[in-house]
Amino acid sequence: MSNPATLAVTAAGADAAAGMMSDPRGARPRKILSRRNIFIYGTLTVVALYYLLPLYVMVVTSLKGMPEIRVGNVFAPPLEITFEPWVKAWAKACTGLNCDGLSRGFWNSVRITVPSVIISIAIASINGYALANWRFKGANLFFTILIVGAFIPYQVMIYPVVIILRELGVYGTLTGLVIVHTIFGMPINTLLFRNYFASVPEELFKAARVDGAGFWGIYFRIMMPMSLPIFVVAMIIQVTGIWNDFLFGVVYTKPETYPMTVQLNNIVNSVQGVKEYNVNMAATIITGLVPLLVYFISGKLFVRGIAAGAVKG
């Protein structure tokens, strides 16, 4: 029994037990109302207010009548809520010769954005897939040229593009603008897709090749279903970019085909008569609504896509 080794072990055990009795080491978890938390949340609140205040002013002003606006207190909530400015902005405001409000521009923008987004994403994703997975001869050169293209300022290209569109006979039409948006969205989206597809394990691609899938088979049945998140990201970038575009819209279209942003500018910057601040505010909010909606809806999808992709397959 009195084996020295056993005794030593027992003694060590007793020491360990004594250690367990003493207070736990390390600091306790912080309280919710610690100085640190107050500082962090305080800062965040101030910054959030700073960004939300203009939106608040816009919404409040758009709901006021002109007499109330002339009082001059921009932060005051409306005494009498009126939706008249919204209706006017949408259907009656004058932009140049037409007096049918933003509705015309809205549909123009839809007809520009939808095909541009679909075509540019379709081409860019195939570009990216080919560049990442099928390393053809000259792939790097092609990619470099594409990326360099992204760094050339738009202003330089405006007039040459006008000539090209004129020669193609699509200058001033929606088709012309769709082509322009598709081309100018190409570098960034190709880069985006290329990098995403490059992160897909190469063995997956090899397995599909051994299984007899070709270029399109692998793209449609392996790569595309795996890449929902990056398609959503590209869609957000393209929808907001094309919807918010002003420069191309104003250069490459005519009054009948003006996108919404150009019309908004014409409404807000009109110099005749009284400045209708409430109508301007309403028109601005309506124009900004689409990208906002895209963020809200696809933001959720985006997060879900990332979460689904994070599970190791």
Binding site: P201, E203, L204, K206, A207, A208, R209, V210, D211, G212, A213, G217, R221, I222, P225, M226, V311, K312, G313
Partner: protein, 362 residues
């Protein structure tokens, strides 16, 4: 009839030569293991056979067809990858069916084949699951099934067990061996860096280094009669002892390392008797006898023990012989302690002797 035949294969990426003038004949139904440390070109060679890499020069024949420029799908191969490479968005069934659908196999035939394969690999309960819902071992089973279901002649395994834990690895290793016995007309080419996998599975092993095959032989030949010093050092765990020394040629040649003189009259020279002055003597730790058993051996010496490493079943002992480090393996029951002096002995017939300059077997 050779099932896979590789002739004068060269592969370069730019200026880097990855595979050089490689020749390999693989018999039908053979289990060939490509063994080597990382970067030796073994996976690259497998990718060339699969058609996933375009080779620079040379030719590849599969079942006597020249497939050098054929697409992977037309080569009659199935491939299993280290990372399983299952299509994450498809169920197990979808993964198995993918290759068959691409080959436009009729639907009822697909169902039948999937059923057979699932039975063979015991994955029937998993058919409706997604890969993310499977364990590593199950995933690799499905990956093997994906190759199997396509009814191919040649299976290519690219380190299939490296991502699994030790226990599962042992289980699946046996399963792959069993599978090979069941499908005895299927050729299997298996890439690994694990010498135990190589020794247990292979009919023949090709040891690769720097894009070239160092030795291609049955596992035991490679273990007993390595062709060069690299192969001798690569195969065997714990690794072989190398003693550098000189050879005193004559009717009774002797290898001299420090104060040790090892008679070589029992050693079978394979090079026809030309003897270099300097040589390296290789002796596996497990072929050294200690104590009473040592006394009957052709060569004996007294050494003092420096470090003892018990590993359970056996014990590895570190000492010096002829002024150089020398390890030997003894039964785990034998009790030795550092500082002790013991008699060791071995039979030089079991040794491997290499030219010190060319590193080739003598």
């Amino acid at each position: 009839m050779a099932s896979v035949s590789i002739r004068n294969l060269d592969l370069s990426f730019g200026d880097v030569k990855v595979l050089q003038n490689l020749n390999l004949e693989i018999e039908e139904g053979e289990f060939l293991v490509l063994l080597g440390s990382s970067g030796c070109g073994k996976s690259t060679l497998l990718n060339c056979i699969a058609g996933l890499l375009d080779i620079t020069d040379g030719q590849i024949f599969i079942n006597d067809h020249n497939v050098t420029w054929e697409q992977p799908k037309d080569r009659g191969i199935g491939m299993v990858f280290q990372s399983y490479a299952l299509y994450p968005q498809m169920t197990v069934e979808g993964n198995l069916a993918f290759g068959l659908k691409n080959a436009r196999v009729p639907r009822d035939e697909i169902t039948k084949r999937i059923k057979e394969t699932a039975e063979l690999l015991h994955i029937e309960p998993l058919l409706k699951r997604k890969p993310a819902q499977l364990s590593g071992g199950q995933r690799q089973r499905v990956a093997i099934g994906r190759a199997l279901v396509r009814d191919v002649d040649i299976f290519l395994f690219d380190e299939p067990l490296s991502n699994l834990d030790a226990k599962l690895r042992a289980e699946l290793r046996v399963e792959i061996k069993r599978l090979h016995q069941q499908l005895d007309s299927n050729t299997m080419i298996y890439v690994t860096h694990d010498q135990i996998e190589a020794m247990t599975l292979a009919d023949r092993i090709a040891i690769m280094r720097g894009g070239a095959v160092q030795q291609l032989a049955a596992p035991h030949t490679i273990y007993d009669k390595p062709l060069n010093k690299y192969v001798a050092g690569f195969i065997g765990s714990p690794s072989i002892n190398f003693l550098d020394g000189t050879i005193e040629a004559g009717t009774n040649p002797v290898f001299v390392a420090g104060d040790s003189r090892i008679g070589l009259n029992r050693y079978e020279f394979s090079n026809g008797g030309t003897m270099p002055e300097k040589a390296t003597f290789g002796m596996r730790p497990e072929h050294v006898a200690v104590g009473e058993q040592a006394s009957g051996q052709p060569f004996t010496a007294e050494i003092s023990i420096e470090v003892v490493e018990p590993m359970g079943a056996d014990t590895l002992v570190w000492s010096h012989l002829g002024g150089q480090e020398f390890r030997f393996r003894i039964d785990g029951q034998t009790k030795l302690s550092s500082g002790e002096k013991v008699i060791i002995g071995f039979d030089p017939a079991r040794a491997s002797l290499f030219d010190a300059d060319t590193e080739l077997r003598l």
